[in-house]
């Protein structure tokens, strides 16, 4: 959820209890005011009636009682139970017009005129409280929806104008890659916070690019520098095995050294290859046919396939051709195929399915999907001694620079690696 949407949602949620509270207060104030007004009016009328009684103005009294708004009767009571002579109450009286009981405010008062006690009751229809309640309620709803609409509009407007530089910054950050050696230029903004954000991001990316380049340089230089001592070790081993009368024990030692040395050489070569791919070293591209590449790779691994009794099923719907570096394409296919052979069961299967924009390598193997971590450097299955743990990261890197997307699928003991043309590749 967008930040703005979230803030306005909070505003709305908080405004509901406030509105309810204000509605309640409103209700109380209105009813109190109305009641007081009625009481005053009724008291005045009562005084008028009392006056008539004192003057014994029968005509006026009759008129009043006939209006069905007052009642005068003799009573023996001198006062009400609570000791007062006047009391107010709400009472229901049948409204003839609407033929329903309506709330009326009534004053009851005991008046003593010439030793006679009279009870005067005067009433007046008042506000219908439930109607008032309804009115206030609907008012609240209207206010709430207005608030909602306004906040939506403000949201829209604010994100369109105020937050624009922020979204622009995010968009350029998404495109940023330290390997591109280019810092995105942020749009100028008059908002201080955004300006600061852009400024610190610029500084950070600057640092990232510098770090990335020095790390890249380091890997490349280190790999190169390591080559020479490795060459020395290798040549010395070649000379050492020429010695006559080597003991079995010595042979074992030499073999172990040789094994470690050749592993180091392979490791170094792979690292160098990775760095070169990352540095976009392989610039020459041409149209490469995956079918041809797969075929030559299959010839290369012929003996491995035979030894492991692996069945190769090739299914070519149409050739998948792509513009990329041919050497890298071979490395890519070799690595995937070697992977499929190495992690296969004896007597297993490898299916190679080539479609117009897609190539799939499926192989039988472990009954568990591989860890996606294996695409990272130096991650490998513990049971594979031969593997350097760089194969899949090389595959991933080559796919990335060649505009291919690499996906992995697992279903029922079948591991599939799918290479397909990256739809959103940027040309140029």
């Amino acid at each position: 959820m967008k930040l703005l949407a979230k803030t306005s949602l909070y505003y709305l949620i908080l405004s509901i209890p406030i509105l309810i509270l204000s509605g309640f207060i409103c209700y109380r104030i209105i009813t109190a005011e109305v009641r007081e007004g009625n009481n005053e009016l009724l008291t005045n009328r009562k005084l008028v009636v009392e006056n008539y009684l004192r003057k014994n103005d029968t005509i006026a009294l009759n008129l009043i009682t006939k209006s069905k708004e007052a009642q005068i009767e003799k009573t023996s009571k001198k006062q009400y139970l609570n000791g007062g002579k006047t009391k107010f109450s709400d009472t229901l009286i049948l409204d003839k017009k609407e033929n329903e009981l309506a709330v009326n405010r009534m004053i009851s008062s005991i008046v003593t005129v010439k030793n006679n006690n009279y009870q005067i009751k005067i009433w007046r229809s008042t506000l219908e409280y439930d109607e008032l309640f309804e009115g206030i309620f609907s008012l609240l709803i209207i206010i709430l929806s207005c608030l909602f609409l306004i906040s939506m509009f403000i949201n829209f407007w604010v994100s369109k104008t105020l937050w624009k530089p922020f979204y622009k910054t995010i968009a350029s950050l998404k495109k940023f890659r330290a390997s591109d050696n280019q810092i995105p230029s942020f749009a100028k903004t008059s908002v201080k916070e955004f300006g600061e954000l852009n400024h610190s991001l610029n500084a950070m990316m600057d640092k990232m690019i510098v770090d990335y380049n020095s790390q890249k340089k380091f890997t490349e230089n280190a790999s190169h520098e390591i080559q020479t001592p490795l060459a020395v070790i290798k040549s010395k081993i070649d000379l050492l095995i020429q010695s006559k009368n080597l003991q079995e024990n010595e042979i074992k030692l030499i073999f172990a050294i040789d094994d470690a040395c050749s592993k180091l050489i392979r490791l170094n070569k792979s690292l160098l290859l990775l760095t070169k791919i990352e540095n976009r070293y392989f610039k020459t591209t041409e149209k490469v046919s995956f079918e041809n590449t797969v075929n030559s790779s299959l010839v290369f691994f012929e003996e491995h396939i035979q030894t492991h009794k692996i069945e190769i099923i090739k299914n070519i719907e149409s050739d998948f051709c792509i513009i990329m570096n041919p050497d890298l394409c071979l490395v890519l296919v070799n690595n995937l195929l070697q992977n499929a052979i190495r992690h296969n069961n004896k007597g297993g299967k490898i299916e190679i399915f080539i479609e117009e924009n897609k190539i799939t390598f499926s192989n039988s193997g472990n009954n568990e999907p591989i860890d996606m971590q294996l695409f990272e450097r130096f991650q490998k299955n513990t049971d594979s001694q031969q593997s350097l743990g760089l194969g899949l990261s090389i595959v991933k890197e080559i796919a990335e620079v060649s505009g291919l997307s690499l996906n992995y699928l697992y279903s029922e003991g079948r591991h599939s690696f799918i290479l397909s043309i990256n739809k959103d590749i940027e040309f140029g």
Binding site: H224, L230, V232, S235, E248, D259, T307
Partner: protein, 226 residues
């Protein structure tokens, strides 16, 4: 054969020299660009091994000098840079082969031999080891003048053994020669075992002497002399 090695790493100089001199080659060494330049100008060689990154200059410029001199020497680039650019520009300048470091000495030796063979058009292009005769142009092998039918891998192995005869060749060197160093080592060792077994069987069938000695745990020695 007279070989010039232009290489700045002293230990590698020693190794290469020692290995190549076992066969009676004469190996001269130049440790930097200037040294190499003057040796190229003064003497003639059959083969020149050039490292690209040298003190005081680039091996690529030396190759240019060799070619300008119209020297007949075969040129092999031995470089730690292992970069395609250097390989391409080196070969464009007229180098005959490119061997990235680190390499097996036996591989270097077999490359030198192959190069010399290609260069000497006037001589006979047959390799004869006692009763074995190899015709590299036709990829044919004769034992006692009778043809032995070998697979590609067996043929490559035999040629490699003959180039490095009387030397111990490690399984690793053979594996790299046949498959490069990218594929599984242990698997490759099994294949080598099988190929060598078949090769030996085919040679023995033609009543060839058993030259192939297995050096336990290390590799093989194609031994033609005691």
């Amino acid at each position: 054969m007279k070989i010039l090695l232009i290489e700045d790493e002293p230990e590698l100089q020693k190794s290469i020299r020692q290995y190549l001199e076992m066969e009676g080659n004469v190996v001269e060494i130049a440790s930097d660009y200037n040294d190499g330049e003057s040796k190229i100008a003064l003497y003639g060689y059959d083969c020149i091994l050039v490292d690209i990154t040298l003190p005081k200059g680039s091996g690529l410029d030396l190759i240019k000098k060799i070619k300008d001199k119209k020297s007949k020497a075969g040129v092999i680039i031995i470089s730690a840079k292992n970069s395609l650019d250097d390989k391409v520009s080196g070969l464009d300048l007229g180098a005959d082969d490119y061997l990235p470091k680190p390499f097996h000495l036996s591989e270097l030796n077999s490359r030198i031999k192959a190069l010399i063979r290609r260069k000497s058009f006037d001589g006979d292009i047959e390799i004869t080891v006692n009763e074995i005769k190899i015709l590299p142009d036709e990829r044919r092998v004769l034992v006692h003048n009778k043809e032995v039918i070998l697979t590609t891998k067996e043929y490559d192995l035999l040629l490699y053994f003959v180039a490095n005869k009387n030397r111990v060749v490690s399984k690793g060197a053979l594996a790299e020669h046949l498959w490069g160093d990218d594929s599984d080592r242990l698997d490759n060792f099994d294949f080598i075992y099988n190929h060598v077994k078949n090769l030996r069987k085919k040679l023995l069938e033609r009543e060839c002497e058993d030259y192939l000695q297995t050096i336990y745990g290390i590799g093989y020695n194609f031994k033609t002399q005691e």
